[in-house]
Amino acid sequence: MSNRRDFIKKSSLATISSILGVDIVFAKNLPKDVLPLLLQEEGFYTKFNKHKDMVILNDRPWNAEAQAHILDDEITPSSKMFVRNNGLIPENIDVDNWNLTIDGESVNTPKSYTISELKKFPKHTYRLTLECGGNGRSEFNPPAKGNQWSIGAVSCAEWTGVRLRDILEDVGINQDAVYIGYYGADTHLSGNPEKNPISRGMPISKALMDETIIAYAMNGENIPLAHGFPLRLVAGGWPASVSGKWINKLVVRNKIHDGAKMGGQSYRVPCTAVAPGSKVSDDQMCIIESMPVKSLITYPKSGAVISENRTLNVRGHAWAGELKVNKMEYSIDFGSTWHRCELKAPHNRLAWQRWSANINFPKKGYYEVWARATDTNGTMQPMVLPGWNPKGYLNNACHRIAIKVN
């Protein structure tokens, strides 16, 4: 805690704005006395046990992202995992009396399970990539509303729980089931108990996959409160909003689930591509399913100064939603030439893949290392921003870091 305090005290405004990932508009107008306001956010780091380099985007509700250089771990620890909330985090959770109810039109007899009853089903552990649908939103032009995520709303933790499929088989679902919806214990910002902050879901085909689980543990421990304690639905490779937190009810629907943030423009992109800045009516917006191919450079941190004739090891992760990453490349000349990186297979399906490369720079100067992943369909990350969409989702443009060779 004191580290962060010292860190903020010592930081210049330029540093703070680089941490925020955006320019502080009118930074020169910002008086010194405003800095203590940033200190108020210290509570976030201690309460949720978060790394000091996590960047807070919003404090009501809490939303915070990692920076690329703290995402270097193969398995993302809770301290470096992005926090995305639509409502207020529930308090005073009574684990012993927690119930998960399975209900909905396509269920004959609704059934409830306590956590100890759930734990009697076969246990499965998977590393699953969860990326916020709006990760990268801050780059879109014209700007899209919402939390201005830069690159750090992604994680790959190890989730343990029971297969949703096993539970649904135990309950018994009808042939007409097409969609699953979740409900959680978080509360709406307006304080209205009748409103759900978020209630999304997935088609039955995704719900029945091996890796779609109701998790009760993350990285071998109870799920941290900010990440869904005591139960979280986890569906890797899809927008992380599909992976409902604090879940106490699942509904098996005979139509596409119509909970909060399923309809309108939420987590949807235009069904057909539109020009930047276009208005798109709700009926022309389609639900995002698998996330696109993407990668991050997690080492070194951008801004490294190295000496000439030194080989630089660069590494990171790559992922591709439902697919796998087939090829990983880097460029040090703004895309004029590309070079292959070493790419490992995923630990399991839907886990991100480690990549690395050793780079020799031809002479002194300023360089940018750009990384580009290609998925099993041959689709690669664009160097410029992908297709504009009204809510700023699915920015999978290449990540890059700055390097200076002296």
């Binding site: 305090r5 330029a14 540093t15 704005s17 680089s18 955006v22 320019d23 508009v25 009118f26 107008n29 910002l30 008086p31 006395d33 405003v34 203590p36 306001l37 200190l39 108020q40 210290e42 509570g43 807070i56 985007l57 919003n58 404090d59 009501r60 509700p61 780059e139 879109f140 032009n141 014209p142 700007p143 509303k145 919402g146 939390n147 201005q148 709406h188 910002l189 307006s190 209205n192 409103k195 909060a260 309108g264 070194p300 941190k301 951008s302 801004g303 490294a304 100064v305 190295i306 000496s307 030194r310 630089l312 940018e368 160097m383 410029v384 921003l385 443009a397 890059r400 700055a402 200076k404």
Partner: protein
């Protein structure tokens, strides 16, 4: 008993009663203080207190504008500021405003969305004033298809 002796006994009783009274009164005052401030924060050096208790900073900053910034929220000073503070920041963080950029139409559509889905009340005649404030102080910036890397913190890796 001489008058002198009686006087001296009366004085002794008076002193004793006074001391007992003072002790009880002091205990009473301490109890009241402790009840209101169990952490005894007034006894802790002031500088440390300012850092640990952020709420007091916030309360102190309420309504204060310095160098064009409203200290409590970080919003830019301008016509309509207090309307925005009152109508917007009671439900969500001011960061939701300061991290976003839009023109009049964009801010209007965000307000409409909040009214349709997030229980935002009818803003009446204040709506235009709020939209004017937002579009004037938080207008869109031209970013192109990919921005230059900025704010690079250089460090020695060797």
């Amino acid at each position: 008993m001489s008058d002198e002796k009686i006087l001296s006994i009366v004085k002794k009783i008076y002193r004793f009663t006074l001391s007992v009274f003072i002790i009880i009164f002091t205990l009473f005052l301490s109890t009241i203080y402790y009840y209101n401030d169990p952490t005894l924060s007034l006894l802790i050096p002031k500088e440390e207190k300012n850092i640990t208790s952020s709420k007091s900073v916030q309360q102190k900053n309420a309504g204060i504008i310095q160098d064009g910034i409203h200290l409590e929220t970080g919003l830019i000073e301008g016509e309509g500021l207090m309307l925005v503070v009152q109508n917007c920041t009671s439900c969500h963080s001011a960061k939701m405003i300061t991290q976003n950029r839009a023109n009049k139409e964009g801010w209007r559509s965000m307000i409409k969305w909040m009214q349709q889905t997030q229980n935002l009340w009818d803003l009446g005649e204040n709506e235009e004033k709020i939209i004017d404030y937002l579009s004037t102080n938080y207008p869109p910036q031209k970013k192109g298809r990919r921005a230059t890397l900025t704010n690079i913190e250089w460090y020695n890796l060797d």
